[in-house]
């Protein structure tokens, strides 16, 4: 019995230590913004990696999501004879929820996993140690550029996702199912208010921080706890990072929505 | 730190630009010295650059790299770079970099005659 309580206590303390380390990691990551070295070019490179290269994935995701929304929305709304609301339905669900969440999830899958693996490899190959020994702050040099790039990319990708999705809904609703173009577009324009757009952007910024934070953290500490720096640790860290980021993004989505709505 | 090299005191006479350096010629000071040397190496009137190292306290790889750049600028126009007063360590560093062939290195005595007054 004492043993059970003891191991429970130990596990709790362990988790607390992890949380503390993760919090500290976030602090260092943010502190890196004001610390040298200059990071203009590394941020540009990361924007290229996180943003430009996610363009097609997000475009496809958004187009098909918009099309499905158009299809589903049409069949539901046509039961009430309100096909005219299709535009607002598609636009609102994209801008408020699906745009930010889908882009964040896609970016996590595409870029987050790669970021985690990249940093994990640097950890097991002693490259992070090498950075520290060159008196270069690994947070400022490695992690912060990714954070900044994520903060630039995700809102833009979200906006792009929204627009492409609305266009996809238009394609299905107007060209395929015969909703009048004017009704669709005016539905889009009249239902969306600034607050919806704003909420979507706030979400995407939050998701960017979450995703970069979790993915870089998992990579940074790949194998550290086990004291075993084998390649399998990178794989494990990457899987963990993607799962944890995705779940936290969905959870955070609920929290942000309930606060902002 | 010793006195910083003040490269303004270089002099140009009959196509020969002579400049004594002092203090460390190292990563912290090279950017400034480099400007002067490359500026001189670019001038058409300059046929030869002579650098006096006798009061240089330290030479590191960045200094050697700077000398290479200067030499390259001169060599394109057939000019020459002469170094004098190099300490034993500095000479070894240049030898280690396998660059002792391209610079004209004068020994201690020669340099004293050149820049004695």
């Amino acid at each position: 019995m004492t043993r059970l309580v003891q191991s429970l206590g130990a596990a709790t303390l362990d988790q607390l230590a992890h949380l503390g380390r993760m919090g500290l990691f976030l602090v260092y990551m943010i502190r890196g913004i004001v610390k040298p070295p200059g990071k203009f070019w590394s941020v540009i490179k990361q924007i290229h990696f996180i943003g430009t290269k996610s363009f097609f994935v997000i475009g496809f995701t958004a187009a098909f999501t918009g099309m499905v929304l158009g299809l589903q929305g049409y069949y539901t709304l046509s039961k009430f004879g309100s096909e005219g609301l299709l535009g607002s339905g598609v636009a609102l669900s994209l801008i408020r929820e699906l745009g930010p969440v889908l882009s964040a999830l896609m970016v996590t899958g595409r870029a987050g996993s790669a970021i985690c693996a990249e940093i994990g490899i640097m950890r097991i190959d002693e490259q992070i140690d090498a950075l520290e020994c060159m008196a270069i702050d690994p947070y400022s040099y490695l992690i912060t550029p990714k954070l900044l790039a994520g903060l630039v990319c995700l809102p833009l990708l979200t906006a792009y996702c929204d627009v492409v999705g609305i266009f996809g809904g238009y394609l299905v609703g107007v060209d395929l199912l015969g909703v009048s173009p004017g009704a669709y577009l005016s539905g889009v324009e009249n239902s969306v208010v600034w607050k919806d757009v704003y909420m979507g952007m706030v979400k995407s910024l939050g998701f960017a921080v979450l995703m970069i934070w979790i993915c870089t953290y998992k990579g940074f500490y790949a194998g550290v706890d086990d004291g075993n720096f084998g390649p399998e640790q990178v794989g494990r860290a990457t899987t963990n990072a993607v799962v944890l980021s995705s779940v936290s993004i969905l959870a955070a989505d609920y929290v942000v929505t309930s606060i902002l709505l | 730190m010793m006195v910083q090299s003040s490269p303004e005191n270089g002099s140009l006479r009959e196509g020969i630009f002579s400049i004594p350096l002092h203090g460390p010629v190292a990563m912290t000071t090279v950017p400034e010295i480099r400007k002067v040397l490359l500026g001189a190496a670019k001038k058409r009137a300059v046929k030869e650059i002579r650098i006096d190292f006798s009061r240089v306290s330290k030479l590191d790889t960045s200094g050697v790299a700077m000398l290479v750049e200067t030499w390259r600028g001169l060599a394109r126009r057939g000019g020459a770079l002469r170094l004098s007063g190099l300490s034993e360590n500095a000479k070894r560093l240049i030898q280690l970099a396998r660059l002792d062939q391209i610079f004209e290195i004068r020994d201690e005595a020669g340099s004293r005659i050149e820049y004695g007054s």
Binding site: I47, G51, L156, D162, W194 | -
Partner: protein, 151 residues
């Protein structure tokens, strides 16, 4: 070469992303950083049941502006509408609230007037008609029996 590709990729990404963001905020979100192209007109209704912000304001079926704000004022609903600059409303126009379709969106209908004078920006439409309470009507019509049976 590689650097140029990088710059091009990032540049394109930023341009497309920013234009999407711009479309969302300026066209859909109605943010007007360079001043609005509308002028404001107010109207008082006894009841605006179901009218929402951003609902269209129309005249003869043409959209001439939109509802900007609805608030309670002295037991009545005070509407603020943004009307396009190039549309001038006569003093004696009548504003009423109508519905598109049966459960479609509510909108403000402004019937043309004949007066020589025009409403100034920030002015008031005097004559208003509250909406026909369609929901009430429909529910009476459809669910009437149900309610009766309940009682």
């Amino acid at each position: 070469m590689e650097r140029r590709r990088l710059e091009l990729g990032v540049g394109l990404f930023l341009v497309i992303g920013l234009s999407c963001l711009g479309y969302l905020s300026f066209k859909l979100g109605d943010i007007h950083p360079w001043g609005s192209s509308d002028y404001e007109v107010h109207a008082r209704f006894s009841n605006v049941a179901g009218l929402k912000d951003k609902a269209a304001v129309t005249m003869a079926g043409v959209t001439i502006g939109q509802v900007k704000n609805i608030r309670l004022d002295d037991g009545q609903a005070l509407l603020t509408m943004g009307i396009h600059k190039d549309v001038r409303l006569e003093e004696d126009v009548i504003a009423s609230i109508k519905t598109m379709g049966i459960i479609g969106d509510k909108y403000v209908y402004v019937s043309p007037g004949a007066s020589e004078e025009y409403i100034k920006p920030g002015g008031m439409i005097r004559d208003t008609q509250p909406p026909l309470d369609l929901e009430n009507l429909v529910s009476k019509f459809v669910f009437g029996n149900v309610e009766k049976s309940k009682q």
